[in-house]
């Protein structure tokens, strides 16, 4: 009985996911252009949040590098897909962004992943600044012009590429989680010294997972560049694209794969509304939300679900017993 319930639950989930994907894929047919743009932004944040959680979740290594690799992707597009003289077609540009982010993350990881907790976080943050300065230097000395123009892609193209990247990110995140590789990452987060003594090649696992997560961040940066069409070092290497995904993932809950998805979707949508209504103070709202989550919802939204389910069960049980005067002892 248990197995069939489990299997049917899985089918329901898969069915639901497929439905959502189909709805998303067909949305350009009936949704307005501005709504599609909103959806693209939401997808971008989901990709960043999920790929961040892919590494930082199980291992416990707090990375603040998403913005760095996002910027790498943006500038890959800026150089390979420049307006007026694109060197490669769009798909190749995305792949190049993936490859370059992967390699940079590999090198950075090898150097910095031996650092302990807080030092790694600070260094990963510093990477954003470092890469921004390198690009700035390059633009000043080599190119002689600040800021680059990227080929403009239409709303629909951007949306579909985003969707493709999202599907890829979710698939990789899902299978990573369930694989022995995912177990190795968890063991690193649990007790790194013990993990290495149980045969886990912790350096390789950390560095590779870090690099894989960077791949998706670079990809999403490259396609975003084609929507922004003008990019410069300060807009490309913007720490907000590290802070927001982290906030979203924590808010959504790190215990499940769909936690960061939920968190990013809710937060991104909230941001759009709040920024429009209260352009001056919308960040305060996020700050307050973060404080509430940290204080009362350590598991994020995802952590709320078991609690709500228990409450609901309790309510249903009480309703069933309604009318009876007998007191049932709490077990």
């Amino acid at each position: 009985m248990d197995i069939t319930v489990f299997k049917s639950k899985k089918l329901v989930v898969v069915g639901l996911v497929l439905l959502i994907l189909i709805w998303l894929a067909t949305s350009p047919l009936y949704a307005s252009s501005s709504n599609i743009r909103l959806l693209s932004t939401i997808l971008m944040y989901i990709i960043l949040a999920v790929s961040w959680a892919m590494f930082s979740g199980p291992t416990g290594y707090m990375s603040l590098a998403p913005a760095a690799f996002f910027g790498v992707g943006i500038y890959t597009a800026a150089f390979l897909y420049a307006r007026g003289s694109p060197l490669l077609p769009l798909p190749a540009v995305i792949v190049a962004a993936c490859a370059i982010s992967f390699v940079i993350a590999l090198l950075v990881g090898l150097v910095t992943l031996r650092l302990k907790g807080i030092y790694f976080a600070i260094f990963s943050f510093g990477l954003i600044v470092l890469l921004g300065l390198i690009v700035q230097y390059w633009e000043n000395q080599i190119i002689g012009r600040r800021g680059q123009h990227v080929v403009a892609e239409g709303t629909e193209t951007v949306f579909y590429v985003m969707l493709a990247i999202l599907v890829a990110t979710l698939l990789v995140a899902y299978f990573l989680r369930r694989s022995r590789w995912g177990m190795a990452m968890l063991s690193i987060g649990g007790n790194e010294e013990a993990a290495t003594h149980m045969g886990v090649n912790t350096t390789m696992v950390k560095v590779f997972t870090f690099a894989i997560s960077a791949t998706f961040m670079g990809a999403v940066g490259a396609i975003m560049a084609t929507r922004w069409i003008y990019v410069d070092p300060s807009t490309a290497f913007n720490p907000m694209y590290s802070f927001m995904p982290v906030l979203m993932a924590v808010f959504g809950g790190m215990g499940q794969l769909y936690g960061p998805v939920l968190g990013a979707a809710v937060f991104a949508y909230l941001e759009r509304i709040l920024r429009r209504e209260f352009p001056a103070y919308y960040m305060i709202v996020f700050g307050v939300i973060l404080i509430i989550v940290v204080l009362f919802l350590p598991g994020g939204l995802v952590g709320l679900i078991p609690k709500l389910r228990d409450r609901l069960r309790g309510v249903i049980a009480k309703l069933r017993k309604g009318g009876q005067t007998e007191q049932h002892a709490n077990t």
């Binding site: 007790n191 149980m198 045969g199």
Partner: protein
């Protein structure tokens, strides 16, 4: 050829010689003990064998192969497993997954998920923890946490098991049970090298004992020889323990 041997093993931390020019060996199938005052370098020696720290000088060989320069995970896959003085379980996983990590990654060749699960279940059954596979490790008593650590080490299919103060904090009855478990492990063909302060265990199951003091080996022999050794009594056992044994 002994399964484990070290020559001139030295480890310096800054100016302090934690282990100083120690020669040692453990024969295959032995239960060997390592005792000494606190701070004598016992855990450091284990850390040198498992490569948690690199050697300052000297050489350690396992089954004739030099361990110098290898990483801990490589040494584990060669067949050396260990437990830790401060229990180092994976706090973010339940009991079964803790042992499963050992089963998956402790072997030199790739192992299927089914085989790994079987390995893990066998190890848990061997230590008597089959009933608690889903429990979170924080909810376990000290004794059970130690059992899980042993199971996890066993799941890596070792030929040599290093036990670091496994008996600490156990009462008399639990020590007896643990001694039985260690003997059972040896009877499976696994060599045991154990650091201990609980003399009952050293006397009860060790065939040979080495004594470290200030990083140097000062005595070696059977438990009886060690416990009657004047220097060992003076620096480690104290008069009362001698009177008791």
């Amino acid at each position: 050829m002994p399964i484990l041997e070290g020559q001139g093993v030295t480890k310096n931390f800054g100016g302090l010689a934690a282990v100083s020019n120690v020669d040692f060996h453990v024969g295959q199938g032995e239960i060997a003990g390592l005792i000494g005052p606190n701070g004598a370098g016992k855990t450091t020696l284990f850390n040198l064998i498992s490569a948690a720290h690199p050697l300052s000088s000297g050489v350690i060989r396992f089954k004739g192969q030099k361990l110098n320069g290898l990483k801990p995970h490589q040494i584990c896959r060669m067949g050396v497993a260990r437990t830790f003085q401060e229990i180092k379980l994976f706090g973010n996983m339940p009991v079964f997954q803790n042992v499963l990590v050992g089963a998956f990654f402790g072997t030199p060749t790739r192992i299927s998920a089914a085989d790994a699960a079987r390995e893990a279940n066998q190890a848990l059954e061997f230590v008597g923890m089959s009933a608690m596979t889903a429990t979170l490790v924080q909810d376990l008593t000290l004794v059970n946490q130690k059992r899980v650590e042993v199971a996890r080490a066993l799941a890596t299919r070792p030929e040599l098991l290093l036990l670091d103060e496994m008996m600490a904090g156990l009462n008399t009855a639990e020590v007896s049970e643990a001694m039985e478990l260690v003997t059972k492990i040896r009877d499976k063909g696994i060599t045991i090298f154990m650091v201990e302060h609980v003399m009952k265990a050293i006397m009860g199951i060790c065939e040979r004992v080495m004594v470290l003091h200030h990083g140097e080996k000062i005595a070696e022999g059977t438990p009886q020889e060690i416990v009657t050794n004047k220097e060992v009594i003076e620096i480690y056992l104290g008069e009362e323990t001698r009177a008791a044994s």
